[in-house]
Amino acid sequence: MIRLEKRPEPSRGFAWAAPILAVIATFFFGGLLFAFLGKDPVQSIVTIFWQPLFGEFAFYYRPQLLIKGAPLVLIAIGLSLGFKAGIWNIGAEGQYIMGALFGAGVGLAFYPAQSAMVFPLMVLAGAFGGWVWAMIPAVLKVKFGTNEILVSLMLVYVAEQFLASMSLGLMKNPEGFGFPGSRNLQQYASAHNAEIVADTGMHWGVVAAIIAVIFAYVLLARHRLGFAIRVTGDAPRAARFSGVNPSRLILFCLGTSGMLAGLAGLFEVSGPSGVVSIDFNVGYGFTAIIVAFLGRLHPVGILLAGLLMALTYIGGDIAQSQMGLPAAAIQVFQGMLLFFLLAFDLFTNFRLRLGRVEVA
C-alpha cells in the first residue's frame, strides 16, 4: 500500500518543483476546461501563453506584461511578508482602492497647478492610504485580538462602497457631462504616472515593484526583522523566547503590505487606468494572493509568478477577443493554479512510501 511519511527536513528541490508541476497540471486541466467549453485546447494555451510574448503583435503585448505584472508583484511582496509570519492580510484589494483614492485625491486637489511636487506627494498619499486601511485590522488584532482575516476582508467591501461614493460624488469630473468618474489624470501632466521610456510599459510602479523585490530579499535573507518573520511563521513559541515582539511584527507586516498595495493602486490610477471610476479595481488584490503562494513567498519567486499571472491576464484578453473564450475561464484557470500548487506542496514535507507498514 502507499502511505505518506513525513520528511525529516522539507525538500528544497520539491519546494521549487511544486510550482512548476502545478503550472504543468494547470495547463493540462485548463486545456480540458477549454475543450469542454468547445475551444481547441492547444490553440487556447498557445494564444494565452505564446502569442503575448512571441506572436505577431508581441511588440504591443510585451509592455502590457510590465503594466499588469507590477501591481501584482508589488502587492504580493507585501502579502508574502505577513503570510510567512502567519499574519493573513487578505484585504489587499481594499488597501489598493484606498491608496488609489488618497493618491488621486491629492492629485485632483492640486488640479490644474503644474509642479514637479504633485506626483511625489501623490505617491506619499497613496502609500499612506493603503497603510491606514491596513492599520485598522492591525491595531484591532494587537489591541483586541480580532481576527485580521475577517476584518481586512470586510474592509474591502467598505472600500468598494467608498470608491463608488467618491467616483459619483466628491471626485466626479466637473466637466464630465454628468458621467461618473474623475478627471483623467493621464491628461494632467504633473499627476500622470507616464512611461519612463516610451512604449516599454516601464512606469514608476514597475520601478517600485523592482525595489520592493530587492528590499524584501535583503530583509528576509540578511536582516534581523526578516529572521523574526521567518521564526514566527515556523515556530511562534520559539520566536517569543528569542525576543520577537509579536505586536510589532503584526503592525509591521500588515502596515507594509497595506502600503505596497496602496502604492500599487496609486500607480495604476495615475497611469494605466487614469480615472477614478466605480469599476476601477479589477481584483489585483486577490490575484496577488495566488501570486504570493505561487512564488513560494520568496521575492524572486514572486517576481516570476507575477509575470506569469500577468501573462494569463493578457493572454486571456486575447483569447477572449480572438476565440470568444469567456473571461471567467481565465479566473477559473488562475484558481486552478493555486489548487494544484497547494496539492503538490504535499511532497515538500512528505514522501510517498510503497510497501507494508513496519511495526516499530
Binding site: 505518506l4 482575516i149 475577517l150 462602497q161 467608498f162 494572493i289 479566473q331 484558481g335 496539492a343 512528505f350
Partner: protein, 306 residues
C-alpha cells in the same frame, strides 16, 4: 425623509428572510469548525451553490430541485477543499482562499447564459388560518419552506452536538485530534463529512439569495455574505442558537439599511451599504476578547504519523 413608510411587522418578516442565507452558511461552517476545520471557502461555495441552484431551477422549472442541486454543488466544491486539507495536508487558510477565488470564477463561467433570466418562484408554505393572525401571522407564518428548513437545521445541529454520540465524536475530533485518533476514531473521515455538510449548507444559502432573495443571477452576487457567515461563527462562540441570534442581527441591519435607502434618508446610499460590514467588524472586536470557546484543534493539520 419619511420613516413612517417602514412598517415594523414587514421589517421583521423581511429580516428573517434576509438572515436565512447567512444562517444556513454559518450553521454549516459551525459544524465544520466544531470538527476542527477552518474553511474560508464559504463565499466560494455559496456563489457556486447560487448558480447551480439557479441554473437547475430555471432548466427544470422546480425551485425545490434547484435547492437540491445547490446543496450538491456546494458539497462538490467543498470536496476539493477536503482533498487539499485532509489528503494532501495543505494549509487550511490558503486552501480556503483558493476555494473562494476558484468558486467566484467557476460561478461566473457557469452563469454566463443566465444573466437576466427570471427563475421560477417558490410558493410560501400554506399555514391556512394561522397566516391570518394579526401581526404574528405575517411574521411567523408567511415564509417559504427553506426559511423554516434553516430554523429546523439550527435546532437539529444543536441537538446533534449536545445529545448524540455522533455529536460527541465530532466535538472530540475538533478539540483534540490526536486523542480522538488514539481512541480509534477516523479523524479524516469525520472531518471530510463535516466539510461536505458545510459545503451543502453554504450552497443552500447561496441558492436562497439567487432564487428567493433577489431573485436573479449576477456575478459575485453573494457580495461577502459568506465572509459575514464566517464572522458569525466566531460571534456565536461556536454555539448553534447564538448563530441564529447573530444571523437575525445581521439580517436586521441589512434589511434596515435597505429600508432606509428606500425611505430616502439623508445618508448617501454607499454609506448605508457599508453598514453590515462595519457592524461585522464592530461585533468581532467586542467578542474577540474571549477565544476560549474555539475548538482547540481548529485549523491544525492532522497526520496520523505525528
Amino acid at each position: 425623509m419619511d420613516l413612517s413608510v417602514i412598517n415594523p411587522v414587514l421589517l421583521i418578516a423581511a429580516l428573517m428572510s434576509a438572515a436565512t442565507p447567512i444562517l444556513l452558511a454559518a450553521t454549516g461552517e459551525l459544524v465544520a469548525e466544531r470538527a476542527g476545520v477552518l474553511n474560508l471557502g464559504v463565499e466560494g461555495m455559496m456563489i457556486v451553490g447560487a448558480i447551480c441552484g439557479f441554473a437547475v431551477a430555471v432548466e427544470s422549472g422546480s425551485p425545490a430541485l434547484g435547492f437540491v442541486a445547490a446543496a450538491a454543488g456546494g458539497a462538490l466544491l467543498s470536496l476539493l477543499f477536503a482533498f487539499l486539507t485532509q489528503v494532501t495536508l495543505a494549509n487550511q487558510v490558503a486552501s480556503g482562499l483558493a476555494l473562494t477565488l476558484f468558486g467566484l470564477g467557476l460561478s461566473a463561467l457557469l452563469g454566463q447564459g443566465y444573466v437576466g433570466v427570471k427563475p421560477p418562484s417558490m410558493p410560501d408554505v400554506n399555514f391556512g388560518a394561522l397566516a391570518d393572525i394579526p401581526i404574528l401571522g405575517r411574521i411567523l407564518f408567511s415564509h417559504d419552506p427553506v426559511l423554516y428548513f434553516g430554523l429546523a437545521l439550527v435546532a437539529a445541529v444543536w441537538a446533534l452536538l449536545k445529545f448524540t454520540r455522533a455529536g460527541l465524536i465530532l466535538r472530540a475530533v475538533g478539540e483534540n485530534h490526536d486523542a480522538a485518533h488514539a481512541l480509534g476514531l477516523k479523524v479524516v473521515r469525520i472531518r471530510v463529512l463535516a466539510i461536505l455538510f458545510g459545503g451543502a449548507c453554504a450552497g443552500l444559502g447561496g441558492a436562497y439569495i439567487s432564487l428567493i432573495r433577489v431573485p436573479q443571477w449576477t456575478e459575485g452576487m453573494t457580495a461577502g455574505v459568506g465572509w459575514i457567515a464566517l464572522a458569525l461563527v466566531v460571534f456565536a462562540s461556536w454555539k448553534p442558537w447564538r448563530v441564529l441570534l447573530g444571523a437575525y442581527l445581521f439580517g436586521g441591519i441589512t434589511q434596515l439599511q435597505l429600508n432606509l435607502q428606500g425611505a430616502g434618508v439623508a445618508i448617501p446610499v454607499e454609506y448605508l451599504a457599508m453598514s453590515p460590514y462595519l457592524v461585522t467588524i464592530l461585533v468581532l472586536v467586542i467578542l474577540s476578547a474571549d477565544k476560549s470557546r474555539a475548538p482547540a484543534s481548529l485549523g491544525r493539520i492532522f497526520h496520523a504519523s505525528s
